[in-house]
């Protein structure tokens, strides 16, 4: 058991975690942030993607005890009080959401990409999202959404 302090969506969090507890478990089961999804628990599907200090990580493969002092952004932290983030807005507008289970991870992976490069090519978008599986869409509209969202970022 370890005392863990971290920042989640801008808020300070302090809790005791067991050695084997994953960041995904802490988010979903301890903090009630169920927007982060568990699709495989093996690092294969990308549904549990969150941003750790701005970098996309698979929270099912991150031991909670290792994120002491770091900053985590989950899907619940993406939209502002005044509406959706441009990435979310673009996903909604072009029809990039179907069942919605991969969506939180997709949004965070896309956001991380666009913050580095707001004008990625379609193949760069595909590469950046290749660790996030979607079984509904065939990815076309997801790539469309990321392309569109990039235009909201300063080039």
């Amino acid at each position: 058991m370890k005392l863990l302090r971290l920042t989640v969506n801008g808020d300070p969090v302090e809790l005791g975690v067991r050695d084997e507890e994953t960041l995904l478990q802490v988010l979903r089961e301890r903090l009630g942030l169920t927007g982060t999804k568990q699709g495989c628990d093996l690092g294969d599907c990308g549904s549990c993607t969150v941003l750790l200090d701005g970098e996309p990580v698979l929270s099912c493969l991150v031991l909670a005890a290792t994120v002491e002092g770091r900053s985590v952004e989950t899907i619940e932290g993406v939209a502002g009080a005044d509406g959706l983030h441009p990435v979310q807005e673009a996903f909604d507008e072009v029809g990039a959401v179907q069942c919605g289970f991969c969506t939180p991870g997709m949004v965070l992976a896309s956001k991380a990409l666009l913050e580095k490069d707001p004008r990625p090519s379609r193949s760069e978008i595909r590469r950046a999202l290749s660790g996030n599986l979607c079984r509904c869409t065939g990815y076309v509209k997801i790539v469309d959404a990321v392309e569109r969202a990039g235009k909201a970022y300063p080039a």
């Binding site: 979310q88 959401v97 079984r135 509209k141």
Partner: protein, 772 residues
């Protein structure tokens, strides 16, 4: 036929639940938690076929934190999605039939305790010989997977004969017979199955990731021996189904049973491996196609033989068997047709229904065979398809009624989009284009159990604020049926979709809908919603007409405002109309139901295949085959789909793209393989490879509208037919690229290289040049 201009139908519309899902607020079953909730886990068989000698649960029960243990004898009532194939129990009774079959279950205070308890359950087995090849299982009388099968392990033999097949082959100028194999595939939705059960005050509530709340409701009542009114089934947000959540599953009964046993809520969530083990995916099919044609390519007769590997339980298999035969008389006119099929039990996880149910693998075989025949005769593949294309308002040889049909247009559109005439047979070696067609039903004409009630029912209520709520049992599994209902209601009522709330898939509050399978929801629930909304509109306009003393036929609702003579000065809003109607005596409602017309023939098996409307599709693929490695890259895939009318083009394109992407996965990489001994070769998303974003091209969709006379606002299905043409389009493109025919799918670079080598020893192929 051109469709009438509409206010909302045909406009790209955002999903009702888009923002909720994007913000992470959508609650899926595993996101729900209740006070005092326990975690359930199931112990699974390590044997492919074995008698259960004993189960000792004493040590598990004694573990601190364990609240209950369950074994099969506690729930011995058998169930199955088809009344004729109720052959499963919630936990194995007497014997196990596949590696991974649930044998016992525990409910404990947390996951770690539950898993520790599973290790303490002592099951003693007596292993039996196991069979994994259906062709072997058909004759092995010494090994019976089910005691009830009369001949070896054949669950059902189906034979259908229409027209003069012998005469048709005799009249043919060319007859070609070949065999094809399509491996198993599985749904792989990103959300794993989950069930949360609460038993309180003598009533069971089950939240479950199910596509079929109504059928689940019935099965729970039967297995748990509870009256239906003591059971409520709720489908929360659901993370993809594709057929993989389309029937009752063990975890739903077990969670319910453990909740009743402990008096505490119990949640069971499948691990990814358990999703793969539960399966119910595409049947492996061993197919033989004999096709006869005239010299001009006109089809004279077809004989299709199919052996379906059903795995160890019935599931939807009897329907799969008949679909695999029945759906082949379309989209090409087959004047004489014979089908012989077998569904056979093996010691594998059960095969069942997957997107495009029954028809996907046979479509691969037929559309490749059509290309082979065309090649033999020197006919262009597009031309042979157009020549045989099914036409509107016709009847197939097996009595399927075709009404709206734009199949020829689908073919022409993809042909034009891929520049067929300029490119087929004319690209450099390694590059090729191919094409295929398809068709699918807009909902099965018959319910799974016989009953005289509507297949879909909808109730709409209006509130004084001007909003309406649509209540429907239809399960939105991500395809967007809630939004579809809102579009239909809004269009009919003359209000904006944003004024419509949809409450769906809750057996306590919503009228019955048979569920999300056989591509039925838009057509059936859409029609029920149209009828309910029309009734509500009529009630509202009658009240307004009475108030204004005008004839009701002079009134209409447009953009939330009542329009008609005498109301120019002081506009009446939709909300005003509701208040007027409600003032005349109580809440304002509309109800509607949809029952398919009586369709199809009277022969045995005639109940599977008929539908009130069929979608049509054509795909064109362009591939690049690496001549050194045999690797195939699909460079372009163009999918046209006759969906009647696109109620919401955004959603419809998404369905077609999703269907085609599943088809590409099955063509190139997906193989649900069971190893000798019964171990699953692919129990994770690493081993079972579904397409990632880098595996697919930018799929191109062409929506073709034929305006169906019976569909809601002319709409038909688009979610399942969109899988059908993909596999043969790619396989035919590979032939165009390198001159080899692939008779097994998924295709592999090794096979392509071997076939190319064989081909080159026969003739020296022109390289890097335009082929003749």
């Amino acid at each position: 036929m051109k469709r009438e201009p509409r206010r909302w139908v045909g406009r790209p519309l955002r999903r009702l639940d888009g923002a909720t899902k994007l913000r992470g607020d959508a609650l899926f079953t595993d996101d729900l938690r209740l006070p005092g909730m326990l975690v359930g886990k199931m112990l699974r068989s390590p044997h492919a076929h074995a008698r259960i000698l004993s189960i000792d649960t004493a040590n598990a029960e004694a573990l601190a934190g364990v609240k209950a243990v369950a074994v099969g004898e506690e729930m011995p009532v058998r169930y199955g999605i088809l009344p004729r194939a109720e052959d499963e129990t919630a936990l194995a009774v007497g014997k196990v039939r596949y590696v991974g079959e649930p044998v016992a279950a525990v409910a404990a205070i947390d996951e770690a305790t539950a898993l520790a308890a599973l290790d303490l359950i002592d099951v003693r087995y007596d292993p039996l010989p196991a069979i994994f090849d259906p062709r072997e299982a058909m004759t092995r009388e010494d090994v019976k997977i089910h005691a009830e099968t009369k001949v070896a392990n054949i669950e059902r033999q189906a034979s259908l004969l229409f027209g003069d097949v012998e005469g048709g082959f005799a009249a043919a100028d060319h007859v070609r017979e070949d065999t094809f194999f399509k491996a198993a595939a599985t749904h792989a939705p990103i959300e794993t199955h989950a069930a949360l059960a609460q038993y309180s005050g003598g009533k069971l509530t089950l939240w479950s990731s199910t596509q079929v709340p109504h059928y689940l409701h019935r099965a729970l009542a039967k297995v748990l021996e509870l009256p239906m009114e003591r059971i409520r089934v709720i489908k929360p947000f659901l993370g993809g189904g594709f057929g993989g959540k389309g029937e009752p599953f063990s975890l739903e009964f077990v969670a319910s049973h453990l909740a009743r046993k402990t008096g505490r809520p119990v949640k069971i969530v499948h691990t990814r491996e358990e999703v793969f083990l539960s399966h119910r995916g595409r049947h492996p099919m061993h197919m033989t196609v004999k096709l006869g044609v005239k010299a001009d390519g006109t089809i004279t007769a077809l004989h299709f033989r199919n052996i379906l590997d059903g795995g160890c339980y019935g599931s939807y298999g009897l329907v799969t068997l008949y679909y695999s035969g029945q759906l082949l008389t379309c989209p090409y006119v087959i004047p004489a047709y014979r089908f012989d099929g077998f569904r056979v039990h093996t010691n594998k996880p059960p095969s069942g229904a997957q997107r495009g149910h029954g028809g996907v693998s046979p479509r691969y075989a037929i559309d490749v065979q059509l290309d082979r025949v065309a090649e033999d005769l020197g006919i262009d593949p597009l031309e042979i398809r157009l020549r045989n294309a099914v036409q509107p308002d016709s009847v197939t040889v097996n009595d399927l009624r075709i009404t709206s049909c734009a199949f020829s247009e689908c073919l022409e559109q993809v042909g034009s989009a891929i520049s067929w005439k300029e490119r087929r047979g004319k690209l450099p070696r390694g590059r090729g284009v191919g094409m295929a067609g398809g068709c699918y039903l807009s909902g099965a004409g018959k319910a799974i159990y016989f009953n005289p009630m509507p297949h879909s029912s909808v109730r709409i209520t209006a509130d004084r604020g001007g909003g309406v709520t649509v209540f429907s049992g239809a399960a939105d599994i991500g395809q967007g049926s809630d939004t579809m209902l809102a579009v239909v209601a809004a269009e009919t009522l003359g209000i904006a979709p944003s004024m419509v709330t949809v409450v769906s898939a809750d057996t306590d509050t919503t009228p019955v809908d048979l569920g999300t399978y056989s591509s039925r929801v838009t057509f059936m629930a859409g029609n029920a919603c149209l009828e309910a909304a029309t009734q509500l509109r009529d009630v509202l306009l009658a009240a307004v007409a009475e108030e204004l003393e005008v004839h009701v036929d002079t009134l209409e609702i447009r953009d939330g405002v009542i329009d008609g003579p005498g109301i120019d000065a002081d506009p009446l809003t939709f909300a005003d109309a509701i208040v007027l109607a409600e003032s005349r005596g109580g809440p304002v409602n509309g109800v509607g139901g949809y029952t398919p017309p009586e369709l199809g023939g009277s022969y045995r098996g005639a109940g599977v295949g008929p539908s009130a409307a069929y979608s049509f599709s054509a795909h064109a693929a362009e591939v690049e085959v690496d001549l050194e490695t045999g690797h195939v890259e699909v460079v372009r895939l163009i999918a046209s789909h006759d969906l009647g009318v696109a109620l919401n083009p955004l959603a419809a394109e998404g369905q077609v793209e999703g269907g085609a992407s599943m088809g590409l996965g099955e063509t190139l990489m997906e193989d649900y393989e069971v190893l000798e001994g019964g171990q699953l070769a692919c129990p994770s998303l690493l081993e079972y490879r579904i397409p990632t974003a880098v595996d697919l091209p930018d799929l191109e969709t062409i929506l073709v509208e034929s305006v169906d006379p019976e569909g809601p606002y002319g709409a038909k299905e688009c979610g399942e037919g969109s899988v059908h043409p993909t596999i043969p389009a790619v396989v035919n493109a590979v032939y165009d690229a390198v001159g080899v025919w692939l008779h097994e799918v998924p295709i592999s670079p090794e096979t392509i290289l071997a076939l190319m080598k064989k081909d080159q020893t026969r003739r020296v192929a022109p390289r890097g040049a335009t082929r003749p």
